[in-house]
């Protein structure tokens, strides 16, 4: 079989089934043969294999050539695409948020870490299902034979300019959904650890603190002085986690989220300071770990204070009053 026949066969194979395949291939064959003849008379000799191959290659890959005759419908048309992304984003964020919040609450209620881990697995599975279902719904709407356009079928053409929401007052950029989702996952884990759900705290401390301490054979446990710090840090962790998941659903609340962080940090600093004012931190009172615990708490206050300062600076920079003039429309 010569090169041209193979090329034509490949094109024919890739043509849409309902098209006049033989007809299209015959026309392409004639065009290629005419090109070859023209080239031969220009060169003054029959085409070599390389020259023929170059000419055929310039005509295009068989699939590409065949695709030009096809009338491939959109999976989701350009008109409905923005609404598809919107539906996908909204459904994904709401379902993932509900699942993660549910998992955290169930973990606290049952004193077991399992529901929290299961909720992450469920959120991942839901995400895959949601992408599939939303895509299928839009693809079906795109294909239903109807006199109405896809936008009319989705009910979007009924929008009313008078009902558009007002632009947000705050000038701060929305939080990235990824950032707030990761923030919530770790925030919730920290909360579970603080509440000692399902012995999480035991594992944390065992791995990071107690095991090395046990190796050093130093008897130690926390005194009642820790209570204010514990209560304040637990509440502020819950506040931060709650606002993280809220910002995941609605990224435009970035300023509220940041203010909450500032408030939570201040609360933690007060709690830790109250703990520092008491002593001893570690029992027995003469334990050498007392000094280490004191420095650790001072370090925590410093870190929290720095974080608060940075958040406040960002908040003041994006103060809506200060930015109102810059944002006014020409």
């Amino acid at each position: 079989m010569d090169m041209l026949s193979r090329y034509l066969y490949a094109i024919g194979n890739n043509l849409p089934k309902n098209s006049a395949r033989a007809d299209i291939v015959a026309e392409i064959a004639d065009d290629l043969q005419s090109q070859m003849e023209a080239r031969e008379s220009a060169l003054g000799h029959p085409l070599t294999d390389d020259e023929e191959a170059a000419l055929i290659k310039a005509y295009g890959h068989p699939r590409v050539v065949a695709a030009r005759y096809g009338n491939v419908p959109y999976l989701i048309g350009p008109e409905s695409l923005p609404f598809y992304w919107y539906a996908l984003r909204t459904t994904l964020t709401v379902i993932i948020a509900i699942e993660l919040i549910g998992g955290t609450i169930a973990a606290i209620a049952t004193s077991s870490i399992t529901p929290y881990l299961a909720s992450m697995d469920a959120a991942w599975n839901s995400a895959i299902y949601i992408v599939g279902i939303v895509t299928a719904i839009f693809a079906i709407i795109e294909r239903v034979p109807s006199k109405k356009s896809p936008l009319e079928r989705l009910g979007i053409s009924r929008w009313d300019p008078r009902r558009l929401p007002a632009p947000p007052g705050a000038a701060m950029a929305p939080v990235s959904r990824f950032e707030s989702l990761i923030g919530f996952i770790f925030g919730a884990l920290a909360l579970l650890a603080l509440l000692d759900v399902g012995n999480v705290r035991y594992w944390f401390f065992f791995l990071f603190l107690l095991e090395p301490m046990a190796g050093m054979n130093i008897p130690a446990h926390l005194s009642a002085a820790w209570q204010p710090a514990y209560i304040a840090v637990t509440i502020s962790t819950a506040m931060i986690a709650a606002l993280d998941i809220a910002a995941f659903v609605r990224p435009s609340i970035s300023a509220i989220r940041l203010w909450t962080r500032v408030a939570a940090n201040v609360l933690s600093i007060i709690g830790i300071a109250l703990t520092l004012a008491r002593s001893p931190l570690i029992l027995p009172a003469d334990s050498p770990l007392n000094v280490a615990a004191m420095y650790a708490l001072i370090g925590a206050i410093a870190v929290l204070g720095l974080g608060t300062a940075l958040s406040l600076r960002k908040l003041l920079r994006h103060n809506p009053v200060m930015n109102a003039a810059a944002r006014s429309y020409p």
Binding site: I24, E27, D30, D31, G60, V64, R68
Partner: protein, 116 residues
């Protein structure tokens, strides 16, 4: 934002193709006032200064025929079967309307570009 001379690579090419797309249909219809087959049609357009590659031309011819603007028939010429195309009566009518429209657009563009 001022970009000056640093335009996005391929931008001119994209805009040029967009501009050409409608004009090519008109040129093909106009050339087919007399009967031609694909290869000679392409050569005629090339000589007139409008290059069109086969990958664009043949699907275009097929679409115009399915829209009833062209007639085609297979005939033998130089010992090979070739598909000859010519304008249908509906095609003639559309061509006249398109030429009028193009002249109107050209006149408007002339005014707009000479103003600026």
């Amino acid at each position: 934002m001022e970009h000056g001379m640093d335009q996005v690579p391929g931008l001119f090419e994209n805009l040029r193709l967009e501009l050409r797309r409608g004009c090519l249909t008109l040129a093909v219809l106009a050339q087919l006032r007399s009967e031609r087959y694909g290869y000679t049609l392409r050569k005629a357009l090339e000589e007139a200064g409008l290059d069109i590659d086969e990958g664009t031309l043949y699907p275009l011819l097929r679409r115009l025929e399915s829209q009833g603007l062209l007639h085609s028939e297979w005939r033998e010429e130089n010992k090979r079967r070739k598909r000859f195309y010519r304008l249908s009566p509906a095609g003639k009518q559309i061509l006249e309307q398109l030429v009028d429209e193009l002249q109107r657009i050209n006149a408007s563009l002339e005014r707009i570009t000479s103003e600026s």
